[in-house]
């Protein structure tokens, strides 16, 4: 065995090549029989076992030559295959021998390199046919199912086991070195079966405990125990959270029937519901309960009339539903509960937490979903199948949709897309026109709402009585707002049918953009009215704003229900009974999500003016969930164009953050910092601004001069009140943003370069292969002209007998193209092993040439 050493395998051609060097990290090694994962040995063995057939004649001849020169006692063993590539020394010696005899050595060196074992050939000859056949079959180990094949093939089980064990050992070592948290995570993502994972885990644990045994101290034992109990606690927390998961079954059902994209709407709704539950808990706990504990100071008793449920006025006006229902007193004795501070800090904390969680989920969603955009439709075939769908009808429909989509993409490719100048101009004109119309519509509705607000303000000032009619008239404004919100988006979708965008995604984005403009414009106008006009004219204006918001939320809810009914139910009836061409409505995810975002914006703005508004929002969302579910099941079909649901979800979260949340927060912040709170009601009565409550508190603390609260004063003066701090913070954030932006750009560039590199290397490979082919074609002629071969007729003939056998074997293998046809310059399905072997040979040849 001394000649047969694996050293030759560390030929850079093998190791630098792309295809086989996919991932050799031990963490991926497994006996799931992934060819990439397997330890290097099997494929190396496979590679070496494999002898290019072209090499065979020479191989035989050489064998014969060498056989003449020295009869060794070499016996074929199972291990022989392991080292077809010689030990450097061995090969040198052999090269020397050969060089002296064989004039054609240089040209043949690459071949020779792979075939030296026949140096000591003769005793082996009788077995040769068998061995060759074995080799032929062993090639299988290069290919799929590798390990299984390995077992079947000549390599002994021991070898396999050894390899696996060494791989395992490394893996275990690596895992032991990790912290237990990482360890579990790493174990979970191992690409092997559960049984093997458990096996590995056992080993890791054993290894750990034996290590611990070495340094058995109470401390390590304790920490181990503590960490284990922590882990158990964490796991039980997770399962408790799962137990509380709302609508698990329903969500699964919707996913099964309508697919992931429709499901994303419901998940979004659920997510918003969680926000509101949290906000309700916080507000109720820290603001409302203390206020209720202190006896309510109701001045006038108004009877409940029923209309209040819609208008939120009258009876509710004096309750804790609105800002006006809270007092500015401190409750309790020395450990006093200051309502002003509680009100301020609760709302501030809620908004800050909301902001953080939004940023977090946005970042996560971006990271997960917003990837380089794919072109073409390869992904559409292999990555778009929705495994969560379980409904027969839905599956059929999805299959049909996919077929249509594929056909469309084929025809698109055939046609090509060309537009003349005039067509382009026309297209541009249409787009300009529709944008003009849509912006005009939005502006007109904003103006209408503004004048309506002014009229409404006059009517409040005029009549101070509380008759039913005046109360009902307050519903006019929210009614108009909701009507606009219902009708204009419909007009927008009609408009988008006129303008034909080549890309359906662009169309969706345009519609979303217009709707966002409209909704945010309306809210902006309303805020302007509340902040600038209402706040100067009316006493206890905060409660009036709260009432307005209450009404907006309620009426919006009613309109959503109506829309669901008319939009989806009637559409379905008409589509199925009267006008089949209209068809069953699709569930419009974008419109529905935008409605949710709008509703949530209202709730966020209202948090300051009506701390219990989240209750309303909670009820609304809860009912909406069931309503939409029923409507979906009864009336709708899944959207025809699917895909990109995840990306849309990211966009929706971003929309919820950037115009919606940021807008609401800036509005609340403006109120708190700049507006004068009403003088006779609410927690901040008598102050110049809401924020003054904090300033006064700080002054009180400062006067008391308690050493333990000095940090708060310091923070207040140096952080919150100092412009320098904010200046610095924004500077740092800007720098960081710029920095990360640059990194992203750099990475994008790098990705493109790497892609190009991969493609180029693929081309390189093809080119080299072609060259090799040519070389091989010229070689047989050279070989035949070599005198060395003709000198040994005996063995040559013998091997000629065996040769057909080998050839047959080789051809008979399934999945392996015959080299002659498979490796033709144009024939792509060349097994990479073949390429590798050839490249290696080429490389060896070049090395050899340099050497000489």
């Amino acid at each position: 065995m001394s000649y047969y050493n694996r050293e030759g395998l560390f030929n850079p051609a093998y190791h630098d090549s792309e295809t086989l060097e996919i991932d050799r990290s031990p963490s991926r090694r497994s006996h799931h029989y992934n060819p990439y994962d397997r330890d290097s040995e099997p494929w190396q063995r496979g590679l070496t076992d494999w002898t290019p057939p072209e090499a065979l004649p020479r191989y035989n001849e050489q064998g014969r030559y060498l056989g003449d020169s020295g009869e060794g006692n070499w016996r074929p063993t199972d291990h022989m295959a392991m080292g077809l590539v010689p030990h450097p020394n061995g090969s040198l010696r052999w090269q020397h021998n050969q060089g002296s005899v064989n004039a054609g050595y240089q040209a043949d060196s690459a071949v020779d390199y792979i075939t030296p074992p026949l140096e000591e050939q003769p005793p082996w000859a009788p077995h040769m046919g068998e061995t060759l056949r074995q080799r032929g079959t062993r090639k299988m180990s290069l290919f799929p199912g590798g390990g299984v094949a390995l077992g079947r093939l000549g390599i002994t089980e021991e070898d396999v086991r050894e390899e696996i064990q060494s791989g395992e050992q490394e893996l275990v070592k690596e895992l032991v070195a990790m912290s237990s948290r990482d360890q579990i995570q790493a174990m979970r993502v191992l690409q092997m079966s559960l049984q093997d994972k458990r096996h590995i885990r056992r080993q890791v644990l054993a290894c750990k405990s034996s290590k611990r045994g070495l340094k058995l101290t109470c401390l390590t034992d304790c920490t181990e125990q503590v960490s284990r109990s922590f882990r158990r606690f964490g796991a039980s927390m997770v399962s408790a959270k799962q137990a509380m998961t709302l609508w698990h079954g329903t969500i699964k059902e919707i996913g099964g029937k309508f697919g992931t994209s429709v499901l994303s709407y419901f998940l979004f709704l659920k997510w918003l519901l969680m926000f509101n539950v949290f906000s309700f808990v916080v507000n109720f706990g820290f603001i409302t309960v203390p206020q209720l504990v202190q006896l309510p100071n109701r001045t006038d008793q108004i009877n409940f009339r029923g209309l209040e449920l819609l208008t939120g006025a009258g009876y509710f006006n004096q309750t804790v539903l609105y800002y006006g229902g809270y007092s500015n007193e401190t409750i309790g004795d020395p450990p006093a509960y200051d309502m002003q501070l509680a009100y301020f800090f609760t709302i501030a904390a809620y908004l800050v937490l909301c902001g953080l969680s939004l940023i977090y989920s946005m970042a996560r969603s971006f990271q997960k979903n917003f990837v380089l955009s794919a072109s073409g439709n390869a992904w559409c075939l292999l990555c778009s199948w929705d495994f969560s769908i379980t409904n027969v009808k839905a599956i059929r429909q999805r299959q049909n949709n996919l077929r249509v989509q594929l056909k469309e993409s084929l025809s698109e490719k055939n046609q090509g897309f060309h537009m003349t100048m005039s067509e382009k101009l026309k297209q541009f004109g249409i787009h300009l026109g529709t944008w003009f119309i849509s912006t005009g519509l939005a502006a007109a509705s904003c103006a209408a709402i503004y004048f309506l607000c002014l009229g409404y303000l006059d009517s409040i000032n005029d009549s101070q009585d509380s008759s039913l009619l005046t109360e009902a008239s307050t519903l006019l404004l929210p009614f108009v707002v909701s009507l606009i919100n219902l009708v204009i988006p419909l007009l927008y979708s009609l408009l988008s049918k006129i303008e034909k965008y080549s890309n359906p995604r662009t169309q969706i984005y345009v519609i979303i953009l217009r709707n966002v403009f409209l909704k945010m414009g309306i809210l902006g106008i309303l805020c302007y009215y509340w902040m600038k006009i209402l706040s100067n004219r009316i006493t206890c204006w905060e409660s009036i704003v709260g009432q307005d918001l209450y009404r907006l939320v309620i009426i919006d809810f009613i309109f959503l229900m109506l829309e669901t009914f008319f939009g989806e139910f009637l559409h379905n009836i008409i589509g199925t009974k009267c006008l089949p061409s209209l068809g069953v409505p699709e569930f419009d995810i974008a419109r529905n999500v935008l409605n949710l975002i709008y509703a949530q914006t209202l709730a966020w703005i209202g948090i300051y003016f009506s701390p219990l508004l989240p209750v309303l929002q909670m009820i609304k969302l809860f009912i909406m969930f069931y309503l939409k579910k029923v409507s979906l099941y009864q009336n709708c079909q899944p959207p025809r164009r699917y895909g990109r649901a995840a990306q849309m979800q990211t966009i929706f979260i971003a929309l919820l953050f950037i115009p919606s949340f940021v807008g609401a927060v800036s509005m609340v912040a403006y109120t708190v910092w700049s507006l004068k709170p009403s003088a006779h009601c609410g927690p901040f009565q008598g102050l110049d601004t809401t924020f003054e409550a904090v300033v006064l508190w700080m002054e009180r603390v400062n006067i008391l001069n308690l050493p333990e609260s000095m940090w708060a004063v310091w923070i207040f003066h140096n952080v919150i009140k100092s412009e320098l701090f904010f200046y610095l913070i924004s500077l740092i954030i800007l720098v960081l943003i710029y920095f990360f932006w640059q990194i992203t750009q750099g990475r994008k560039l790098l990705i493109n370069l790497l892609r190009e590199q991969i493609i180029n290397e693929g081309k390189d490979k093809a080119f080299l292969l072609e060259k090799l082919q040519k070389l091989q074609k010229t070689m047989p002629t050279m070989a035949s002209s070599q005198p060395a071969y003709t000198q040994m007729p005996q063995t040559y003939a013998r091997i000629q007998e065996i040769e057909p056998d080998y050839e047959q074997d080789f051809q008979g293998l399934p999945g392996i193209p015959h080299p002659e046809e498979g490796s033709g310059p144009t024939g792509p399905p060349i097994t990479s092993a073949l390429i590798q072997a050839m490249l290696a040979r080429k490389q060896a040849e070049e090395d050899e040439e340099e050497g000489y």
């Binding site: 792309e18 295809t19 996919i22 992934n34 990439y36 290919f143 799929p144 590798g146 174990m187 979970r188 993502v189 690409q191 079966s193 559960l194 049984q195 994972k197 458990r198 796991a235 039980s236 399962s239 698990h248 969500i251 697919g259 992931t260 997960k368 979903n369 990837v371 380089l372 955009s373 794919a374 072109s375 073409g376 439709n377 390869a378 992904w379 075939l381 292999l382 990555c383 778009s384 495994f387 969560s388 769908i389 409904n391 599956i395 299959q399 996919l402 077929r403 594929l406 993409s409 084929l410 490719k413 990109r644 995840a646 493609i759 693929g762 081309k763 490979k765 093809a766 999945g815 399905p829």
Partner: protein
């Protein structure tokens, strides 16, 4: 769930928790789902690790898989014997990979195996054609399906070997954001 203790030992449950993305409760729930497939076959006591398998016919009849065009491939890929007959370990493994928590690479690896019908570790044209037939119910003409397959290989094959290797597939997955949410079966 008084019988929780008798199904698995605490060590077994710990091991399952460490090796899958499931919590204790989910593991028990999955066990019951598994057992419901063949109540007379599966013992209620798993503490002595009985060596039983549920045949593919029963696995494939689960409501989660029943209509899935790839159900047979899924079962084959995740079963130890490669024929779709599953032990409890295989069963847990399958749903762990298909769960929400599993990372992209793990999912991609198994998705690749599922689409690799002839187990040669490459998605070649014949694999693609099979996939296409399953996805469109054989309703594309031969020419069309050939064109589509060529296009897919053309787009996704980066190293020009005429078929898709695991990395080609991963490259593609990275560009298909929906994959994470669609390669997911809720249990």
């Amino acid at each position: 769930m008084g019988n929780k203790q008798t199904i698995f030992t605490a060590q077994q449950l710990d091991a399952y928790q460490d090796c899958t993305f499931f919590t204790r409760k989910e593991i028990i729930r999955l066990f019951h789902r598994y057992r419901d497939l063949a109540p007379q076959l599966i013992p209620l006591d798993y503490t002595n690790k009985p060596d039983v398998k549920v045949p593919y016919e029963l696995i494939g009849s689960m409501p989660e898989l029943k209509e899935n065009p790839f159900r047979q491939r899924i079962a084959e890929v995740f079963s130890e014997d490669g024929e779709g007959n599953m032990t409890l370990d295989d069963f847990l493994d399958m749903f762990s990979v298909l769960s929400e928590m599993a990372p992209r690479d793990l999912k991609a690896y198994y998705a690749f195996k599922i689409y690799d019908f002839n187990n040669d570790d490459y998605i070649c044209k014949s694999d693609l054609e099979k996939t296409l037939n399953k996805l469109t119910r054989n309703e594309l003409s031969e020419d069309e399906s050939r064109l589509v397959c060529e296009k897919v290989i053309d787009e996704a094959d980066l190293d020009n070997d005429g078929r898709l290797s695991l990395e080609d597939f991963q490259h593609m997955i990275v560009r298909a954001p929906d994959f994470l949410s669609t390669f997911h079966i809720r249990i």
